[in-house]
């Protein structure tokens, strides 16, 4: 540890910052802000006054939702504020605010000069967006109760509260670690070289790698916890969630922070599900269950009731 100098730390931090920045879209220098307004409006604030003839031309803008570049949204009206710095686009249909929108303009004209064309991204407040990914993965789209993934491990380790919490925490650590690795590899190796067909092999390889790493570390640091898990740490590989999250990340083109939040949310959601389930199953041990339903079958019925309860979260959206 003696060899680490401030210089190395600085290089490391810079690398991370550069990596994070490359994930963002470059914006036009003349545009100060873009935002959603009401249900069917987008507002663009420019740094200086723009020409009215250019700004009022509906054909000068084209807007689409990020996942569907082919479907252009119809603009019904363009309004310019009196100081000529704010343009408000009104659309024929309400906008889906959950999706980032891409707004392309023709060359921006300001005081007779052209300032170049702009490609802008319109999104909800970024912090809220990231937070909604976290809460969404945790509760609204809980991977266990609403997406039905990771059930083998879920039923295997939810018999006792202590095991459930331990498993949940380990799982959260492994999934965050594995997802960040897979995100990095997907963005910087698979995508540039067009190796999409390898994604399953690469992701599962990374997952088993991180599981092996956690296995080795836990064996040394906390032998008691290691003993308690036994076969289930190896079965983390067999937990679909840990593979589903990297695949979802790859499909949705999330950036580093969003990926981190989704992985964390999935891990915490799994922890919550395990804990809730273990509480019920500890009580079930004492209950008088018919012999045919003892063990797994009754656990499934209970999970079904939980899933119904979690159905109540569906359709909720934050921010």
């Amino acid at each position: 540890m003696k060899n680490i100098r401030p210089f190395h730390v600085l290089v490391g931090v810079l690398l991370v910052v550069v990596l994070l920045l490359t994930g963002c879209k470059t914006r036009h220098r003349f545009v100060k802000k873009t935002a959603f307004k009401d249900t069917d409006k987008i507002e663009i604030v420019f740094a200086g006054p723009v020409d009215e003839t250019w700004a009022k031309d509906v054909g000068g803008y084209s807007v689409y939702e990020k996942p569907d570049p082919d479907i252009l949204l119809k603009i019904s009206n363009v309004a310019l504020s009196p100081d000529k710095t704010t343009v408000t686009l009104t659309f024929e249909e309400p906008l889906n605010r959950d999706q980032p929108h891409i707004l392309t303009t023709t060359e921006i004209m300001s005081e007779g000069k052209s300032l170049g064309a702009a490609v802008l991204t319109v999104k909800k407040l970024y912090f809220g967006y990231v937070l909604s990914i976290l809460i969404g993965a945790m509760l609204i789209n809980n991977f266990v109760f609403t997406k039905y993934l990771g059930l083998c491990v879920f039923f295997g380790t939810s018999q006792k509260k202590t095991t459930a919490v331990g498993m949940g925490v380990t799982f959260t650590l492994v999934i965050v670690f594995a997802c960040m690795l897979s995100w990095f590899l997907y963005q910087y190796v698979l995508k540039p070289f067009n190796l999409f067909f390898l994604e399953i092999i690469v992701f599962i390889g990374l997952v088993s790698l991180s599981v092996q790493a956690v296995d080795t570390i836990l064996r040394k640091i906390n032998p008691a916890l290691f003993k308690a898990f036994g076969v289930y740490l190896v079965l983390v590989i067999a937990n679909c969630v840990i593979l589903a999250v990297p695949l979802i990340l790859a499909d949705n083109e999330y950036n580093a922070l969003e990926s981190f939040m989704l992985a964390l949310g999935a891990g915490l959601g799994f922890l919550i599900a395990l804990f809730l389930m273990s509480c019920v199953r500890e009580k079930l041990e004492l209950a008088n269950v018919p012999p045919t339903f003892k063990g797994m079958p009754i656990a499934f019925v209970v999970a079904g009731l939980f899933a119904l309860a979690f159905l109540g979260f569906s359709g909720m959206s934050i921010y």
């Binding site: 399953i200 092999i201 599962i204 997952v207 092996q212 593979l243 119904l308």
Partner: protein
């Protein structure tokens, strides 16, 4: 390295009934709950799993003497991932509609516990032909379970079978809801347990 002494037929029957992956071993529950809403989905995913299970069982059985014990789990996983990529691309190319309905689950066959489990417990200790039959048995057991679940849920939820209207009305829409998967699987498992208990009682007396 205890090689099995069971005959091939015994292996097949074990896979389908006594060691049924879903109802008896309670492994690979995610697809059983997630996409068993119709018979067709169950059938297609069952065939995909059958293919992957047989192919990876044979592969591991062939190369079992060259795998170092410490890296056996990653080796199993990568072998399965290879075959899943094959079936994923094939389904995507030839059955695009069904592939979309199954969504992420085809790719997730990699993480199904049952396949890794069979490789670890069976294929790495037995000859190729035995592993083949074990794979077929397990795959068929999974297929059988998925189709049964799909049958119950589609008939009770939508009143249809394979898309054809059978009942003319929808008895219990609840069964078509995703959340019902858990309860249907739980009830079916209970039913299988019950059948087991009755069978054993009859054998005794």
């Amino acid at each position: 390295m205890a090689a099995t002494t069971k005959t091939n037929t015994q292996l097949l029957i074990d896979g389908i009934l006594t060691e049924n992956p879903i109802f008896r071993l309670a492994l690979s529950m995610c697809p059983a709950v997630g996409i068993s809403t119709t018979v067709m989905n169950g059938l297609l995913l069952g065939i995909a799993v059958l293919f992957v299970q047989v192919a990876s069982s044979c592969t591991i059985s062939i190369i079992k003497n060259h795998i170092h014990p410490r890296i056996r789990i990653p080796t199993y996983t990568l072998t399965i991932a290879m075959w899943v990529t094959v079936i994923d691309l094939v389904l995507g190319a030839y059955f695009p509609v069904a592939y979309k309905a199954m969504g992420i689950f085809v790719k997730l066959i990699v993480a199904f516990a049952i396949i890794t489990m069979r490789l670890e417990v069976f294929a790495c200790k037995n000859a190729v032909s035995k592993s083949f039959w074990d794979g077929v048995g397990m795959g068929l057991g999974f297929l059988f379970a998925m189709v049964t679940l799909g049958f119950v849920r589609e008939l009770l939820g939508m009143g249809t079978l394979l898309g054809h209207d059978i009942l003319g009305f929808r008895p219990l829409l609840y069964f078509a809801l995703p959340a019902a998967g858990f309860i249907v699987v739980g009830l079916m498992m209970g039913f299988f347990n019950y059948a087991d208990i009755v069978y054993n009682r009859m054998k005794k007396g």
